[in-house]
Symmetry: D2
């Protein structure tokens, strides 16, 4: 341990250029002496050598207890990928007062915006009507609206009411929908504050005309939306899968769409990239998006600006305000696969 | 003139069934003795025979001065097509205290909703990405967002700020856009009340990332958005034509899209239905909608419920509150073609 | 009739300085040749001499049919006091296409703001608590809240849903009240659009914790809120009289407050100024305001700017957009006393 | 340690009846075996005897490290007074994974509501006008508004942007104020998300017409709003002290009001109850409230319902969602005096 204050930057699969605009990068540089490994994960020996003087880690570096013990000045580990991984001893961090945080909500705004766009698309038949027009089979006026419904005023359901679900709730406000919410991790009051109706899963799927899925995957909820739920949906209603493919029984979802029972939009798939000959590519009632609703340029920049803003607070001895904190109890339940590319 | 109070119903191209749910129809029947011609326009002789006892007309019946003079009990003419036509002597109606009104704003809500959906589509590339996915050329994550922009926070422009423009303005509120408005028929205060920036046409097209066109056609503004305006738009920005094809130079619009300068969505075309071999069917950057954003079932019902609600007020000696009034000065400037089918 | 275009300005009890800031005054001067009478009503001979060349009247000049016939160029009469008077032949104006308008809604914003302030005062006991503190009888914490209630979430009622009622409705939105509205001149749809519940008078008074009165006086509704209505109010609820004293049975209102049944605030009185020894000055549960909620400096300026903006539209052949139009049928029912001072 | 699961309830100065309605109390009883001390603080021997089986503590019981070590099953300490005290070893709690939380935001809603009411009162002169009316010195119309200003559109400043400041920000939204915020504990993004302008203290006081103080007292900020800040305020502007008297230089505030430079409202005082002969009781421009804006019946009930809802989550192994967490770093800076009575 010397007088140095190292900021260890190990951001793969991100790069600093991807996540920080010049002014944010400049603020990062004021927090300490930057040591950066961008083309590969930082080698273990280098990490070990730097730890005694490290005050902040930006990245997904493995941090088991032994490493934490060698980092007496460490104040925070800031995951810039956005999913907590099981490579950190979270309990040991808590005991040492080391913040473990991630700016996960950086992606909420672009995903919420795209979700509303896709819901309007499914309700009003926008993409399908465009395809028919190109095929020369368009219908004008009322005849072109037979299989559509008005999004305004339609009852909607939200499954998973974290940052993303709440942002969507705000975007949909002018449409005056009745909003049912299912989120078993939340007290009713959080939902009611935003004028939602706390509901069980059955009510959300059966009483809504549009169902948005924003739930994270945990060790306990894989495939919790399955054939029973799709059967319970109203004929002609819309289903949007915007978070993780693993929370639904994907074949059951495709079956419900192929049969014409519902329409669906999905931004995620069990295996990405999707195989060239995958059946999803030819299901008419399915609106397809290649895991691209969150990854906008502004979202990556926000990832960086949130990370740096919270690091600034932490260096002043204040709690972080923007990033999500890893609660040891819940971090261990999360089962997201980290992305391999940005 | 007898003791009868006739309600003359001559609604073509609408039908009563199309525009009135049973409860509204029941209210209509309380207003007087209904005489209905739905399968054809009411024959002139029948109209002439009924006029002395007619208190209300629902429809687009010709009403020159001579007919008005023969209708001493007439209180209102309620156009249920939604565009005022030059077949009424508006000045004579004013002088006699006969209301001439139309529930035109019935279509505002579905068009505004679809407009926002299409703007989100153009901004985030929803339909294009779906098409690429079906073609097997989809791009994941950031690579799939190269030609997109965030709708949230983007400056938007609204051309024509009647009921429809104002409704869109409310729907877009959660996205916190800067909103410029061009409407030469309005004082600035109307625009500022809704947190818009009163602007000239040049500023709206050049400073906005998304331009919505909701303007009516008049004898003076045909083709007022032309090559100069499209050239002035920002590269990659979005243009939505939602009101009448005649307000733009349609070939200039198509040229701007084909060149890749802008993306556009259009719900209207110079000639409808569009010819099978029309070039619009194959322009990639164009989102196509067959004059179908307004004609939803609920909108037709609203046409009827607004008409009846105002008729009820008028029969009580109160002014109408929901329909638009034909101001003689402006009615003569409007040049919409009436629709021939619903 | 010469080539002159006179703008006749006869604004008593207003003055131009009171209602127009310099930039608005400058716009007025561009509309024609101003002839102004501010220290007294314009003499009849002067009016008569000017009429042949008058294009606009700003003021409350008598305009019977004979005068209208002598004013062939007249396009609009703009009442800048804000209440229509029976000194105009409204029907003759309609027949001649002369707009008769008034910028009455200029006062809506300050009155709505003060109304909400007074409602919060009555609900939370603000003025009463201040008075007790000055008397040395204040109570701290919960003990100080025994006779109060939370405004947030309380059901409220609005009687009279014109510009003022609608503005209050918007101001109260963040408090998430259930809002009942009684307005016999409006269709339900106007109320429902703003998320109000159309109700009869009995429901409004008996189901609300706060009742706002914004109704105009007509020949038919004098004293329509009387003992029966006050008796039906919930004990401890709040009543706000913000429009005209004549719409309530004033002694009945005072009785309900004196008995402790309700609290009330009033901005208007049967006779103004109120007599020095009037009992209202010593009723503890009454919040007193000397007809001052509307008359703010900005409201008077808005009166002028709305008048000029609409005059500009009218001179271009466009309909006015900001002022209220005198409908002959309703103008004759209004019974407001004009104010004698500003 | 036995098989019992004790819920230790030691809520003074609260009582369970004060903070829990019957349904919430019933939920509390499902969380374990209740042991309650309401008439006095729970005796040390009793606490010590219960600790081995205690799973939850509701109250302000002293919990030094030695006690924590004797409570192996303890999951959470829930302060129901609402201010964290220095009688807990916060770091030891963190290390053991014991949540220390408090439902402090229960008071935000009533305080925010009263704050807006008082701000409208100061801006529009409501209480002062009522007092003048009672004295027979009221002024009507514009003359009664000489020393008032419109709250709508006025620039406002918020000092301290926690739950309370954010709630006020939402309540004031319809008034379209420019909102400056000073909060040195927060990153700009939190302020900007709610459409505030992050500002330094000087700008907040000098550029606002209404200044709200919601800041907590810390070891570092006592009296940070003093003569310099009051001098910098605009003449005739309004100052509202709603959190803790210690954050302002109280005599300097009184001086600024007595001189007529500003108006102020205060809900808190350096010593409470205020002495009978305190000068505050006779300063005309001061709106007085006896620390009563937060202590409404619904707020106390919310204290209890938030506490129980979070306890339910914690017992399921989930993180609390409603209460504020004691961060060891900041808990040690807070210097609030606990209330001695509810």
């Amino acid at each position: 341990m010397t007088g140095r204050n190292i900021v260890l930057v190990d951001p793969l699969p991100r790069t600093l250029e991807l996540i920080m605009e010049p002014d944010v990068r400049a603020r990062l540089e004021k927090l300490g002496e930057l040591v950066i490994s961008e083309d590969r994960q930082m080698p273990a020996e280098q990490v070990d050598a730097l730890l005694p003087d490290t005050v902040l880690i930006f990245g997904q570096t493995d941090m088991p207890k032994e490493r934490l013990e060698r980092a007496p000045k460490l104040k925070a580990i800031i995951n810039v990928e956005s999913n907590f991984l099981p490579n950190i001893d979270y309990q040991a961090c808590v005991e040492r007062g080391i913040w473990v945080i991630t700016p996960a909500s950086a992606f909420s705004s672009p995903v919420a915006e795209a979700s509303l766009g896709m819901a309007l698309d499914l309700a009003r038949g926008i993409t399908i009507a465009d395809r028919q027009f190109r095929d020369g089979t368009e219908e004008y006026g009322l005849a072109g609206n037979i299989e559509t419904f008005r999004y305004a005023g339609a009852p909607i359901g939200i499954i998973g009411f974290g940052d993303l679900g709440r942002e969507l709730r705000e975007l949909t406000r002018p449409f005056k929908n009745e909003v049912r919410v299912y989120d078993p991790w939340l007290p009713n009051e959080i939902i009611e504050r935003l004028d939602g109706i706390p509901s069980n899963l059955d009510d959300v799927v059966s009483k809504s005309r549009v169902v948005y899925v924003f739930a994270s995957v945990t060790s306990e909820n894989q495939g919790f939306i399955g054939k029973r739920q799709f059967d319970a949906m109203q004929p002609g209603s819309a289903f949007l899968l915007m978070s993780r493919a693993a929370v639904v029984d994907f074949p059951a979802m495709l079956g419900a769409v192929k049969s014409g029972h519902i329409r669906a939009a999905t931004d995620v798939f069990p295996d990405e990239p999707v195989a060239v000959d995958d059946q999803v590519r030819s299901i008419p009632g399915l609106l397809l998006s290649a895991h691209r609703t969150g990854g906008t340029r502004d979202a990556f920049y926000k990832l960086g600006s949130m990370a740096v803003a919270d690091a600034e607070l932490i260096m002043k001895g204040l709690p972080p305000q923007l990033c999500r904190r890893a609660d040891p109890a819940t971090a261990s339940r999360l089962r997201s696969k980290p992305v391999s590319v940005s």
